[in-house]
């Protein structure tokens, strides 16, 4: 069984939701990423989404754009990102790691070579600019190497497209909560719920919701209709604020995530913010 599947099955047995935490690899410096990854899991992260830095992250807001710039200033390459995951796996063999990024760095590395290199280390790949129409080749390679191809769904995705995507996807589905870029904050829980209901008619696969989830209350509200929530820009903002001051970075990241995780795990903590 894949790490992703095991993770969702175990959570489901306990009637719990997954916390997926995003950071950009190499931010603020490649030598800091491993420590931050361990901090994420210490604070209750169920799945790590590790961003591959790219010079032109067209679906990302300023927070993650700047994270990419910081990582690239130190030359963080896809090879470095894979090296970091390899180190992580020396002590953590259970937490699923999903790489998220754009197609060009993977394509230049070579899709086949990439899949072969990360097989067993990385559990899934989200390629933001690779919709199903363009992903057939990469997805079949990933499948060969037991790597899940995780697709995005959006508020604009039609029933027909939902069907096409759920037919191809594995691991879990990633619902982008609003029309916009990462780090924006126009999430509307009612419309998310309605769309998740629509997607549910097509699939039993776990559904994660991302974009715009910055605190425990929003996470809790959104988690009511899905299987996992993704927190990204809120974590990256903390890293941006403290830079290479690792004790400050990790302690603040941990307290944010613990608060979110507690809210997800605990029925009592919900506050109505509506």
């Amino acid at each position: 069984m894949s790490r992703i599947q095991a993770c969702f099955e175990q959570l489901a047995q306990n009637n719990k939701k997954a916390l997926i935490s995003y950071i950009t690899a190499g931010d603020p410096h490649p030598s800091n990423t491993l420590e931050i990854m361990h901090a994420l899991t210490d604070a209750g992260t169920d799945i790590i989404e590790l961003g591959i830095p790219f010079s032109d992250p067209m679906a990302d807001g300023p927070v993650i754009q700047l994270a990419c710039e910081r990582a690239l200033k130190h030359g963080t390459s896809l090879k470095d990102v894979i090296g970091i995951v390899k180190q992580f796996r020396q002590t953590n063999t259970t937490t699923p790691v999903v790489l998220m990024g754009y197609q060009n760095p993977i394509e230049i590395f070579g899709v086949e070579k990439f899949a072969e290199t990360v097989s067993g280390l990385v559990d899934g790949v989200i390629t933001v600019d690779l919709p199903p129409e363009e992903s057939q080749q990469a997805a079949s390679v990933y499948k060969q190497y037991d790597i899940d191809t995780i697709y995005l769904l959006a508020p604009t995705t039609s029933d027909q497209r939902i069907q096409m995507i759920t037919d191809l996807a594995s691991g879990f589905l990633y619902y982008v909560s609003f029309k916009g870029i990462t780090g924006a904050s126009q999430i509307d829980v009612n419309s998310v719920e309605a769309k998740i209901d629509q997607i549910r008619k097509h699939t039993d696969m776990p559904i994660a919701v991302g974009f715009g989830i910055k605190d425990a209350n929003t996470a809790k509200l959104v988690a009511g209709c899905c299987n996992a929530v993704v927190v990204g820009s809120a974590i990256v903002s903390i890293i941006a604020e403290h830079g290479k001051d690792m004790p400050a970075t990790t302690s603040e990241v941990k307290s944010l995530l613990r608060e979110i995780k507690d809210a997800l795990d605990n029925d009592e903590t919900i506050q109505n913010i509506a």
């Binding site: 690779l130 995005l152 870029i181």
Partner: protein
């Protein structure tokens, strides 16, 4: 004509395929949120193509608002000076707003209107596409926001003011390399956020399908006119076509109607900057490799890790690390030859055309003029070359003056 060439010519007529691919290039590499809006645009464009009223409105605007057809002008003194083939200039600089860009913005703005969009956005490098977008927005009463690299705002100040006069909001882009590619990223981010009421007018034959197709179609008026004018004025087709290539819209506009004519040689001129050997240039077709950026697969300027690298050109409109996917395909197929011209050569051509013919060319177009000089000398006096004079140089006088050490 060899069987191979014939087959390529037939391919050219049906490119792109229904998914927007030109061979291995092109396609639609965008986040899921934009897939449905792009499909809607594709459907709307297909419908407008067979709608005589849309075509009539487009043609009327080109005739009465832009001032088409643009002249095909025989540059007699330049021809004599260069001592080779006869040089003809396709005068896109005489269009309303001073460049070929307006052909495309009118087409896309009419589509925006048809789709009921009330807000248009655009990216711009030299500012010509921004001005053309602001112009048509003013005329149609649409809100207009133009994204422009902070560095380009500095070097194209007159066009920035022009856009503001026309009522557009010009947003400086400070991310990445602060030039055209970053403006494109920012426009895509705006579009994904405001997709319900917003139409994104892309300024060149790049971006995700159907943009490379529809921008090409709107620009082929250049080549169709040139073909007819050449037959009228010289009794034959030209022997060669020359156009500068930034994203490649003025070049594809001139070349495309001549693709079936393999005997007409086609030269696309990329910005050689300080010289391709220095690495400081904007010539992906000459010195780049295929990759994925801004929604399509094409030749790019990138490093070994797939990061897009900074480009350089004296002309903001050519300062782009990618190129339209159809050009990538035409390069691989061999139907167009892609060459480079340095900043210095372009600048010399800028002065020469100004002094010999009394026409101040855009620095972008000066690249095409510079290559034509080299080419003309290798050809017979009976042969003809058509150069696409894609724009006028008024916007560039500050840049040129600065290089000469003159403060305006």
């Amino acid at each position: 004509m060899s069987a191979n060439v014939k087959e390529n010519v037939m391919n050219a007529a049906i490119m792109p395929d229904e998914r927007g691919h030109f061979g291995v290039y092109g396609g639609r590499f965008v986040a899921e949120t934009l897939m449905t809006p792009l499909q809607e645009l594709e459907a709307e464009y297909a419908a407008s193509k067979v709608d005589p009223s849309f075509q009539k409105e487009f043609d009327d605007d080109l005739a009465h608002y832009v001032g088409r057809p643009s002249p095909l002008y025989f540059a007699q003194r330049l021809t004599k000076l260069w001592g080779g083939a006869k040089v003809y200039l396709k005068r896109e600089d005489l269009n309303h707003t001073g460049a070929h860009k307006i052909n495309n913005t009118i087409g896309q703005a009419l589509l925006a209107k048809r789709m009921g969009k009330t807000r248009i956005i655009a990216e711009t490098g030299a500012g010509q596409h921004g001005v053309a977008s602001a112009t048509i927005a003013a005329r149609l009463g649409l809100e207009c926001v133009v994204y422009m690299g902070a560095d380009d705002i500095q070097r194209q100040a007159p066009n920035v003011y022009r856009m503001r006069l026309l009522g557009a909001k010009v947003v400086p882009v400070t991310s990445g390399s602060r030039t055209l590619k970053d403006a494109l990223n920012e426009a895509l981010r705006d579009w994904v956020t405001n997709v319900d009421n917003t139409f994104y007018i892309i300024g060149t034959v790049a971006g995700p399908h159907p943009y490379p197709l529809l921008v090409r179609d709107f620009q082929t008026v250049i080549g169709r006119e040139a073909r007819e004018q050449s037959l009228d004025q010289t009794g034959k087709l030209p022997d060669a076509l020359v156009a500068c290539v930034g994203g490649g819209s003025n070049a594809i506009g001139l070349f495309h109607p001549f693709l079936p004519d393999a005997e007409v040689k086609k030269y696309g001129v990329e910005a050689g900057g300080d010289g391709v050997e220095t690495g400081r240039h904007s010539a992906p077709l000459n010195a780049g490799s295929p990759g994925v950026l801004h929604g399509n697969r094409t030749y790019l300027m990138e490093d070994n890790n797939g990061q897009i690298i900074e480009t350089h050109s004296i002309s903001a409109g050519l300062d782009y690390p990618g190129v339209g996917p159809e050009h990538s395909w035409l390069k691989d197929e061999g139907s167009v030859e892609y060459v480079t011209v340095t900043d210095d050569e372009a600048l010399a051509a800028f002065h020469q055309l100004t002094r010999i013919e009394g026409i101040i060319p855009a620095l972008e177009s000066s690249h095409a003029v510079a290559y034509t000089q080299k080419l003309a000398k290798t050809m017979d006096k009976e042969q003809t070359i058509i150069v696409n004079l894609s724009g006028r140089g008024d916007k560039d006088i500050n840049t040129v003056a600065r290089i000469e050490g003159i403060e305006l």
